[in-house]
C-alpha cells in the first residue's frame, strides 16, 4: 500500500537530474554496443567474401570501444551524484525532525530502529537513485532501441523481435507488487532488530546480573532466524523473477533472434554479417534486462526505506513553533499555570486543573510522591508537550507565543537523571555555555563540588566519560548536572530532585551553591522529600495530578521546628 505522503525526500529533485544523467550514460553505452555489433557484422561479411578488412573498420571499432568505456565510467560517476546530496539533506531533515518531536514523542520511537533508518536506510538511497532507477529507464527502452536498430538493417526482423519488448514490463509487473510488500517487511524487521539490539546492549549489566544475557541472546537469535526466513522468502521470490527473466529471454530473445536471423538469411533479405549482428544484439537486450533484475532487490529496498523515512518526516510535532514575530520578549520572569490539564497521547490525565504561580525571584517547592505528575510539569514548562487544557504563561505571555529556542534558553534545568554525551568532561560542561573560559568551567565545577573529583581523574577535564557516564556514580553525575546549570546562568531554574544521589556532607555544600544560584531568580524545586527544600518560600503538594495543598514558608518553618 502506498502511503498517502506525496512529499518527496529532501534533495530528490537534484538527485533526479543525476539519475537521468546516469540513465543517459547507460543509454549512450548501449548505443555504442549496438555500433560494435554492427561493425563486427561488417567485418564478418568482408571475411565471408574473403575480402580484406579496411583500416577504417578497425578505427571505428576502436572508437566505439573507447566511447563505451568513457560512458561506463560516466554512469558510475553520475550514480554517485544521484544520492550524495540527497543523503546529506535527508539526514539533516531527520535530525531536525528528532529535535522537533522532542522527548515526549521519542518515547514511543525505538531509538535503535530510528538510527538504523537514518543511517542504513538513507544509504539505501544509493541503490534506488543511482542504480535501480536509471537502469529501469535503460532496461525498459533497450528492446525498443535495439529492435529499431535491427529494423534499420531489416524492418521485418525488427518488427518480429519487437515481441520481446513487453517481456520486461510483464515480468516486472508480475512480481513487483508482491515484492514491494515483502521488501517493506524486510526493512521493518531490520529496524526492529536494531532497536532490540540497542536495548539489550544498553541493558547488558542488568541482563548479566540476572544471568539473563544468554536467554536474551537466544531470543534475539530467534528473531534473527525469523528475519533470515523472511529474507530467504523474499529472495525466493526475487530469484524466481530472475529465473523467469533468464529463461524468458533465452527463449524470447536469443532463440527468437536466432530463428529470425536464420530465416531472413534464407529469404535472402540479410547478409551473414547482419545475421550475426542480430544474434549479438539479442545478447545486449538480455544483458540490460539482467542488470535490471540484479538491481531490483536493492532498488526496491531503497524505495521501501524512502517511504519509511518520508513517513517519519511527516509525523506532526507535539508542539508548534510560535508564529507571532516581532514581539518584544517578556522582561518579567514570573511563571503561571492556569487550570492546566495534561495527558500523554492515548493515556489518562496526568495533571488535572493545576494552577499556581511563581513570582519573579521567588522559590517555590513542589512536593509529591513518586508518580504524582511532577516531571510532567517540567515537560510542559519546557514545551516538550502542550497542555490538553488551560495555559501556561511566562511574564504574562502564553508560552505558545514565545519562540521555542528563546524559551528554552531562559530555563536552567537540573534533571533527576542527566544525559552525558559521548565526549570529555569539559565538552559535557561546555554544552551549557559554549563560550565559557576554562576558569568559568572550573568555578562552576567547584561550586557543584565536583572539581576535586574531576582533577583526580587521570586526564582531568579531558577525561572521556563513556556513554551515559557509566564510570560515574549517580551523585557525581548529578553534580555535573548542577555545574551545567550554574554555567547556563538562566533566569528561571527548574530543580527536579537535584540531589537524590548526593550524600549529605556534599548536599550541604551543594545547597549553598543552589541557594546562590537561586538568588534573584525564579525557581521551581521539585522533590519528594520535604527536608531537601531549603529556601522555598512557598510550597505546593501535588497528589495524583492535582494540587491538594499549599503552604507558605512560615508554616513550613513552624512545622520543621
Amino acid at each position: 500500500m502506498e502511503t498517502k505522503s506525496k512529499n518527496s525526500l529532501p534533495g530528490s529533485k537534484e538527485s533526479r537530474r543525476f539519475s537521468y544523467a546516469t540513465a543517459g550514460m547507460g543509454g549512450a553505452g548501449m548505443i555504442c554496443t549496438i555500433g560494435q555489433a554492427v561493425l563486427l557484422g561488417l567485418v564478418v561479411d568482408r571475411l565471408w567474401r574473403s575480402a580484406p578488412v579496411p583500416a577504417w573498420l578497425f578505427f571505428a571499432l576502436a572508437a566505439v570501444i573507447l566511447l563505451r568505456a568513457i560512458f561506463a565510467g560516466g554512469a558510475r560517476w553520475f550514480a554517485f551524484g544521484a544520492s550524495a546530496g540527497a543523503k546529506r539533506k535527508t539526514r539533516r531533515a531527520i535530525h531536525g525532525k528528532i529535535l522537533d518531536l522532542g522527548p515526549a514523542r521519542s518515547a514511543s520511537e525505538r531509538t535503535g530502529g530510528l538510527v538504523h533508518d537514518t543511517v542504513e536506510g538513507v544509504e539505501a538511497l544509493d541503490a534506488s537513485n543511482g542504480l535501480y532507477f536509471p537502469q529501469f529507464l535503460v532496461g525498459l527502452s533497450a528492446p525498443l532501441v535495439i529492435c529499431l536498430a535491427i529494423g534499420v538493417m531489416d524492418w521485418v526482423s525488427g518488427l518480429v523481435l519487437l515481441v520481446t519488448a513487453p517481456l520486461a514490463p510483464i515480468l516486472l509487473g508480475l512480481t513487483q507488487s508482491r515484492f514491494r510488500a515483502v521488501s517493506a517487511r524486510y526493512h521493518a524487521e531490520a529496524s526492529a532488530l536494531s532497536a532490540r539490539f540497542l536495548d539489550a546492549v544498553q541493558g547488558l549489566p542488568t541482563l548479566k546480573a540476572f544471568n539473563a544475557g544468554a536467554a536474551c541472546g537466544s531470543e534475539m537469535a530467534q528473531a534473527g532466524e525469523r528475519f533470515r526466513r523472511e529474507t530467504m522468502k523474499l529472495l525466493a521470490v526475487n530469484q524466481l523473477a530472475i529465473f523467469l527473466l533468464d529463461w524468458g529471454f533465452a527463449v524470447g530473445a536469443t532463440g527468437a533472434a536466432f530463428v529470425v536471423a536464420a530465416l531472413r538469411w534464407k529469404a535472402g533479405a540479410i547478409t551473414v554479417g547482419e545475421a550475426v549482428t542480430i544474434v549479438l544484439l539479442s545478447l545486449e537486450i538480455i544483458r540490460q534486462l539482467n542488470l535490471l533484475g540484479a538491481f531490483f532487490f536493492a532498488g526496491a529496498g531503497g524505495r521501501a526505506m524512502g517511504r519509511r523515512i518520508r513517513h517519519y518526516l511527516d509525523t506532526p510535532g507535539p508542539v508548534k513553533e510560535s508564529e507571532t514575530t516581532g514581539y518584544r520578549m517578556p522582561s518579567r520572569r514570573d511563571v503561571r499555570f492556569e487550570d492546566v490539564s495534561f495527558a500523554y497521547p492515548g493515556g489518562g490525565d496526568v495533571l488535572s486543573h493545576v494552577s499556581f504561580e511563581i513570582q519573579p525571584g521567588e522559590t517555590v517547592g513542589l512536593l509529591g510522591a513518586s508518580g504524582a505528575g511532577k516531571s510532567s510539569i517540567v515537560h510542559l514548562l519546557l514545551r516538550f508537550a502542550d497542555p490538553r487544557e488551560g495555559r501556561i504563561l511566562l511574564g504574562g505571555r502564553p508560552l505558545v507565543d514565545l519562540p521555542l529556542e528563546w524559551l528554552r534558553s531562559q530555563i536552567a534545568w537540573v534533571a533527576q537523571d542527566t544525559w552525558l554525551f559521548h565526549g570529555t568532561v569539559e565538552e559535557n560542561l561546555r554544552i551549557a555555555y559554549p563560550g565559557a573560559g576554562r576558569g568559568e568551567i572550573e568555578e562552576a565545577s567547584r561550586a557543584a563540588c565536583i572539581h576535586d573529583f574531576i582533577t583526580s581523574l587521570p586526564e582531568g577535564y579531558q577525561t572521556r566519560i563513556g556513554e551515559r557516564g557509566t564510570r560515574l556514580s549517580g551523585g557525581q553525575a548529578q553534580r555535573l548536572a548542577i555545574a551545567r546549570a550554574l554555567l547556563k546562568d538562566a533566569p528561571i531554574i527548574l530543580l527536579d530532585e537535584p540531589t537524590s544521589h548526593v550524600d549529605f556532607a556534599c548536599e550541604a555544600a551543594l545547597r549553598q551553591a543552589l541557594d546562590r544560584l537561586s538568588e534573584g531568580r525564579t525557581v521551581l524545586h521539585i522533590t519528594h522529600r520535604r527536608h531537601s527544600l531549603s529556601a522555598a518560600s512557598r510550597l505546593f503538594y501535588l497528589e495524583d495530578g492535582r494540587i491538594t495543598k499549599s503552604e507558605d514558608s512560615l508554616t513550613l518553618e513552624t512545622i520543621a521546628a
Partner: protein, 584 residues
Amino acid sequence: MTHRQTIIRLWQVLRPLRGTLGLSVAMRIVNQFLAVVLIVLAVWGVTAIARGGSSQMLWTVAFALAGLGMVKGIFRYLEQFSGHYVAFRLLADLRRQLFASLEAMAPAGLGRERSGDLVSRAIADVERVEVFYAHTIAPFVVAVVVPLAVVGVLAWISPMIALGLLPFLVLTGVGIPFAAHRIGTGAAGRVRDRLGEISARFTDVVQGIRETLVFGYGSRSEAILDHEGDLLASAQKTLSGCHVFQSTATEIGIGSALLVVVFLGAGEVLSGEMPAYDFPVVLALTLSAFVPLLGVTNLIPDFEQAISSARRLFDIIDRPCHESPCLAAVGGEPRSVGVVFDKVGFAYDDGSPRVLDRVSFAVEPGAVTAIVGASGAGKSTLVNLLLRYWREDAGEILLGDVPIRNMAARRVRELIAVVPQRVHIFNTTLRENIGMARPDAAMDDIIEAARLACIHEFIMDQPEGYDTMAHEGGARLSGGQRQRIAIARAFLSNAPILVMDEATAHLDERTESRIMESVRVWQSRDERRAVLVIAHRLACVRDASRIMVLEHGRVAGIGCHEALLDSCEVYSDLFAAQSGAAQS
C-alpha cells in the same frame, strides 16, 4: 587485522556450510558454461545455416537454445538460493557470536564502546558481510575456471588467437581488480567506520534529546553530523572513483581484446589458416570469456566494504574477555551465603586512582549490613566487584568459604540479586521487565514481588495492567517507579543475597519505609538470607545490624549505629550533617 587474516577468519566461520557452498559454486560454474554455450550455439547456428544447413537443423538449434535456457535458469536459481542460504545462516551466526562476546565483556570491556556503533556493527556490518559469502566466493572460482576453459576451446580452433587473448584476461581478471583494491581498501574502511560513528552520534542525540533541546545543542550537533557526513561522502567519493576506474579500465581491457582477436582472426581467415565460418564463433567465444570476469570486477568496492565490516565484527568477537579464565568453577559450592571482603584493593585502570584500598568487612546471613559513605567513596565499586563485573587487584572476596574468583561467574550472580543505582528498563511489557529475573516465574510470583516492591497498584492502574509497555528506558515511568520495578525484579529472583545500591533514592519517605519493611518481610522468610544496603541517607541504614563506613576507598569504621556515633568521627559528622539538614 590484515586483509588476509580477515579472509581466513571468514573462511573459518564458513566451516559448517562448506558443502552447501561447494554445491553453490558448482551450480554457478554449470550456469556460466551454459551461458557460453548459448551464445556460441546461436552464432554457430547462424553460420551453419549460412553454410547451407537445413530447416530441420534450424529448428533443432532453436529448441536446443530454449531447452538450454531453461536448464541454465534452473541452475542459476539454485545457485543463488543456496549461496544466499549459506550467507544468511552465517550472518545469523555472526550476530549471535557478537552478542555473546558483548555479553561476556560487559560492562568492564565496553567502557569505550558506543552502543550506537555496536548496533551498526551487529546489523549493518553483518549484512555487508553477506557480500563475501553470497557474491564473492563462487564468482571468484567461476572467474578462474570459465575463462580458462574458453581459452582452451579457442586454442583448439586457433592457438594464436588464444595466446593473443590471454594477456587481456590476466589484465582484467587480476591487474585491474588488484589496482581497484589498492585504490578502494582504505576508503572502504573509512566508510564503515564513519557509518558507525554517525549511528553513535544519532543515538546520542535521540537519547539525550532533553539536554540537546534545553542547552540549544541542536545546531551544534547538526554541524557535527554534517561534518561526519562530509567525511563519509569523501570516503564514498573515493570508493566511487574506484568504481569509475574499474568500469572504464575493464571496458577498455575487454575492447582491446576484441580488437586484437578481430585483427588476428581476420589475418588468419585471409591467409586461409582458419575457415571464415569459424570467425563469428571465435568472436562469440571471446565476448563470452569476459562475462564471468565482469561479475568479479564490479564487486571489488563491495568486497572491500565487506572485508572492512568483517574486520569491525572480528574486532569485537575475537577480543579477549575479562572473565574467560574463571568460567570453569574450581572452588566448589559455598556452604553458606555470607560475603566476606578481605583486604580488597582495586583501581579501574592502571595509573588511575585507587578506588578501594584494603577494604575488609563481612555481610552475615540473617542480618542487614549497610555501607555508607560520600558519593564517590567506592560503594558501587564494591558491588561491581561482587558481581564479578571487574576483578579485584588485591585481597579476595569470599562467598561463604569460596573465593568468588574460583566460582563460575554465572553461579555468583545466581546467588546475588542487585538493585542497581542506575536502573535499566527494557522496552517490553512491565510483566517481562520484572519476570526477566526468573524466566520460569508464575504470574502469581510476579504479582507477589510487585506487591512487596509497592508497585503492584500502580501497574494495575495502567490501561493494560502488567501487559503495559514500559517504552524505551521506561520513558513514561517516573524515577521512583523505575526503581520499584528494579526492586520487584530483585525480590522475584529469589537469590539469597540482596544488594540494594541507593535503591530508594527516588522514593518519597513513606514509600521508602514501606520498601524497607518489605525487605525485612522478605528476609524473615528464610533466616539464611543476607541483605546489603548501600545508602548515603542514614535513615535507611540506622537499623542495620552492622554499618560499614567507607571514606576515600578505605574503611573508616564498622559497627552498629550507636557504636559508630561514639567511635567513628566520619560517621558522627555525617549524622550531624544530616540531622542538621533535616531540621533546616
